[in-house]
């Protein structure tokens, strides 16, 4: 029995192409039914995410199965796509790498594991998997867990927004009852705020020189807009300040902040200054209870995390190698029997 993997991903295809191949949740059943009619193909799982569409199949005749998958994709999309394919053992290694986040756009990201688990559960639920793919995917989940636990591949955040969320977590713990204020409705501040909302922040106050823009952003992220002249009135109750105005000078100095901090009953304040030129005087970081990060420091942390993750790849590959060998041994021993 062979394991076949065929598909396209972000390495070889732009989003315009990937989106034509994507398989939506409601289509999975039909797609799996169609794939399993391919001669010599016994089991199948389809993993469809924003960065990849991959078909995993167990087949006694991988060449014929691959032709069948290609024909199906052509028939479905009407285009000749640069589909890559792997046979055993590369296909096994590929799945283990995918599940571990080593093949992701953001190295070491963990969302993919959930997506692979969901894809497998769907296929298994529809009866599209049997002993070989069941074992393969269970192994993939074990590998991903081992890679995550025994290495630092998931260490740190690798984008400005994610770093901000991580730091907020290190200051406040849970973010559920935290209040965020956005000064200047720029793209990066919006993205950062969205990250925080995704982590449970309930209250977002948006203030912009143009009130309409503030109102529009507030409506988008479920926040509240206030006039720019009034932002300091809300200051006492906020925990996180994201600033990205286009002001040519600092809008928050140490002298201005110190009396405001005295009114906050010793609660810490996380200031994220995304503006260039900077909105917040760097001396603000010396105020007790204030943690100031500008765009450079956030990017530096993201770069550092990525570098740590890259250093871990070798160890991850070693873990994967061990599991691939173990799986291939099982497969070679005839651990699987073909249903008639």
């Amino acid at each position: 029995m062979n394991i076949l993997c065929a598909g396209i991903n972000h390495h070889i295809a732009p989003v315009e192409l990937r989106e034509r191949f994507s398989v939506h949740n409601h289509e999975v059943g039909d797609v799996l039914d169609r794939i399993r009619t391919i001669d010599g193909l016994h089991e199948a799982v389809v993993v469809s995410t924003c960065n990849r569409v991959e078909f995993y199949a167990a087949s006694i005749c991988p060449a014929r199965a691959l032709d069948g998958v290609r024909a199906f994709l052509h028939e479905r999309t009407g285009i000749e796509a640069p589909v890559y394919h792997h046979g055993t053992p590369q296909s096994v290694r590929h799945l283990f790498r995918v599940a571990s986040g080593l093949d992701s756009m953001v190295l070491g990201e963990t969302e993919i594991l959930g997506q692979v688990k969901k894809a497998y559960a769907t296929a298994a639920g529809l009866g599209a998997t049997s002993r070989t793919l069941n074992r393969l995917f269970q192994n993939a989940f074990r590998v991903a867990k081992s890679v995550r636990t025994d290495t630092q591949i998931t260490r740190g955040a690798t984008s400005v927004g994610a770093v901000a969320v991580e730091l907020a977590g290190k200051i406040f713990g849970g973010l559920q009852n935290r209040r965020v204020m956005i000064l200047g409705a720029g793209e990066t501040s919006e993205l950062t705020a969205r990250h925080l909302v995704a982590r449970g922040v309930k209250t977002v106050i948006v203030s912009n020189r143009t009130y309409d823009r503030a109102a529009a952003l507030a409506a988008e992220i479920g926040g509240m807009a206030i006039h720019f002249d009034h932002w300091h009135r809300e200051f006492d109750d906020i925990d996180i300040l994201i600033s990205s105005t286009g002001a040519p000078h600092t809008i928050l100095s140490r002298e201005k902040l110190e009396p405001l901090m005295r009114r906050r009953s010793a609660r810490p304040l996380f200031v994220i200054d995304l503006a260039v030129p900077r909105d917040v005087d760097p001396a603000v970081n010396h105020v007790e209870g204030v943690f100031l990060y500008d765009i450079d420091s956030l990017q530096e942390i993201a770069r550092h995390s990525l570098s740590v993750r890259q250093q871990e790849v070798e160890q991850c590959e070693r873990i994967i190698d061990t599991h691939v060998t173990s799986f291939i041994t099982w497969l070679g021993r005839g651990g699987h029997t073909v249903s008639p």
């Binding site: 200051i171 406040f172 713990g173 010793a266 007790e288 209870g289």
Partner: protein, 262 residues
Amino acid sequence: MDRYWLVAASFCFLLSFGHTLYALGAGKFRPARFNLAAMLAGFGFATVFLVQRGQVVRACPITNLFEVLVFLSWSIVLIYLLVGPAYRLSLMGAFTAPLVLALMLFALIAPIDAAPKLQPPNPWVEFHAALSIIAYGAFGLACIAGVMFLVQERQLKLHRVSDLLYNLPPISDLSVANGRLLITGFALLTIAFAAGIIAGLPVHSIKSITSGVIWLVYGAIIVLRHRGLLAAHRIAMLSVAVFIVALVTLPAIQHLSVPPNL
């Protein structure tokens, strides 16, 4: 002979501390069961020592400075075992182990294990003394939470991305733990003082006055914290400073106290 139990306990705390240092240095730190197991084993050995010593002195084994230090170490670990896992304060064991280890090593090395002055047992006096030391155990752990807060705060202020930043708990959690430990210690010390008054211990002795001042200082910190008049940073600093002062003055107080040495 009973000192061997302390050596074994010290070895366990050393093992816990060393393992954490190695794991952090190698970038492999995980909140593992090893540290907790080592702390539990150390606690067990220290308990055996205290039980054996208690049988010898026929009282709570806090009859000299040596025993007081061991009892204090035991109390710190006891509070850690009760609080640490409950609050999921990662690395608290790693910070607790060196303090306890230092106290135990000092107790083992310094010539302070004087022969006990056997006194007729007075339950109120023993209760007062034991509870006082357990209260200091809580203050000791508040000091540790304070140190952890200051380390984490410094990392966040200086934008240092290290294993410590990722493994130490959020400063808000540390601040809460610090506050609760201060309150616990204060409550225990208050009860201990009440027991001392019931036992008829002298109120105007240097020991009582010093202890009263420490009680007042901790009380003031708690009130100022409750009213939001002290930032978490200052509370952490004070938790560390006051505990160190209490620890440094302990031998002097012990020396000055009249029999029974409680």
